[in-house]
């Protein structure tokens, strides 16, 4: 593999890591993220984009797998920060919670920093991911209980 290929693969992996972290954070409640962040010593940072709320148009697909169409809008908050060490983090989440978007931006920046990536993974992302997984498993178990277990009645029996 050439140097470029290696760099590209690293970049893809970095993006995947950031996306995974963002997904966990987006699904968490602001209060939970805040509680986790209390255990992290935050470096100095500046706000590149003051947290703001807006809309995104949610798109569906015709037939579920065909051409896109506009279904309806959803509220979204977003923010951007830059750590004193230079990493730029972006926070996006459904809803109108500016603080949540800011915290996600901070975490995204931390995830990219070589010093703090591990800390934020241990103290914030991992616990939130575990809670999210547990919730989803609970939901799946309850749903599974409503699955129909068909049995055929044989005519003329009994």
């Amino acid at each position: 593999m050439s140097v470029q290929d290696h760099m590209q693969r690293d970049e893809t992996r970095d993006i995947a890591r950031r996306k995974a972290a963002m997904a966990v954070l987006a699904h968490a409640a602001a209060a939970e993220i805040r509680a986790c962040l209390e255990g992290v010593a935050l470096p100095a940072y500046e706000k590149l984009r003051e947290a703001e709320s807006g809309l995104v148009m949610v798109r569906g697909r015709v037939g579920g797998d065909g051409a896109p169409f506009n279904l309806g809008e959803a509220t979204v908050s977003r923010a951007a920060v830059r750590l004193a060490t230079g990493e730029v983090g972006f926070g996006y989440a459904l809803g109108r919670d500016s603080e949540k978007a800011l915290m996600i931006a901070l975490c995204d920046a931390l995830v990219q920093s070589s010093e703090l990536a591990e800390v934020v993974e241990d103290r914030v992302i991992a616990p939130l991911r575990a809670a999210l997984t547990a919730d989803r498993q609970q939901q799946a178990a309850r749903t599974a209980a409503t699955k129909v277990d068909f049995y055929t009645m044989v005519r003329g029996e009994g």
Binding site: L48, E50, V88
Partner: protein, 202 residues
């Protein structure tokens, strides 16, 4: 290469700045020829005056295609700044642009390259934001039309010299046409399509 971290800032106070700038542009349009001031504090990328930057952040958004003159189109910082702060799509086809940013009068193309709007939707025209040398000194232009009580004198120094001759097409096109906002640093003057230049004094 400019990263997002190094881009000039947008509005210091988004809500109030957008509101005051909108008010200034609205007043300028309502009283053509009158000089309004943009008071908002705003970052400026290269080649853009403060008034232009403020107007861009107030009026441009995801749905307003913007045409840039050749100099601005080549300046990546300007394009990045617009994209990050306003989300406006930058287009090369001037005929579909909602706004045109012209940093310098020499680069103003023939007006028929822009959109005039349609009879049903005359508002779907291109609004030209034109940066000029001065809106306080220079030749005297006598203006009349809706929003002007009798006549108004605009004292200004700008290029192209034949701007008002070019804008004369608005008379025949109405309700379609081109609206222009002149910007000199933080001063703005609007020349909507209904305004006519009826006199000139050096």
């Amino acid at each position: 290469m400019t990263t997002i971290a190094e881009l000039p800032a947008g509005f210091a106070d988004k809500v109030l700045s957008a509101q005051t700038t909108f008010r200034s542009v609205m007043e300028a349009m309502a009283r053509p020829g009158s000089v309004q001031r943009v008071i908002a504090s705003v970052g400026t990328p290269p080649h853009l005056m403060r008034g232009t930057a403020a107007i861009a952040l107030t009026l441009f958004d995801h749905d307003t295609p913007v045409w840039l003159d050749p100099l601005l189109a080549e300046t990546t910082e300007v394009k990045k700044w617009l994209k990050f702060h306003s989300g406006a799509p930058v287009v090369t086809d001037s005929s579909i642009a909602s706004f045109a940013l012209v940093s310098e009068g020499d680069m103003l193309p023939e007006l028929d390259r822009f959109a005039f709007g349609s009879s049903e939707y005359p508002d779907r025209s291109t609004t030209v934001i034109l940066q000029v040398d001065s809106l306080a000194r220079g030749a005297q232009y006598e203006l009349s039309g809706p929003g002007i009580d009798g006549h108004a004198i605009l004292q200004a120094s700008f290029k192209p010299n034949d701007l008002f001759e070019r804008l004369a097409i608005n008379a025949a096109l109405f309700p379609r046409g081109i609206d222009v906002v002149l910007v000199a640093d933080d001063a703005i003057v609007a020349i909507p399509r209904t305004t006519r230049c009826v006199g000139y004094g050096g």
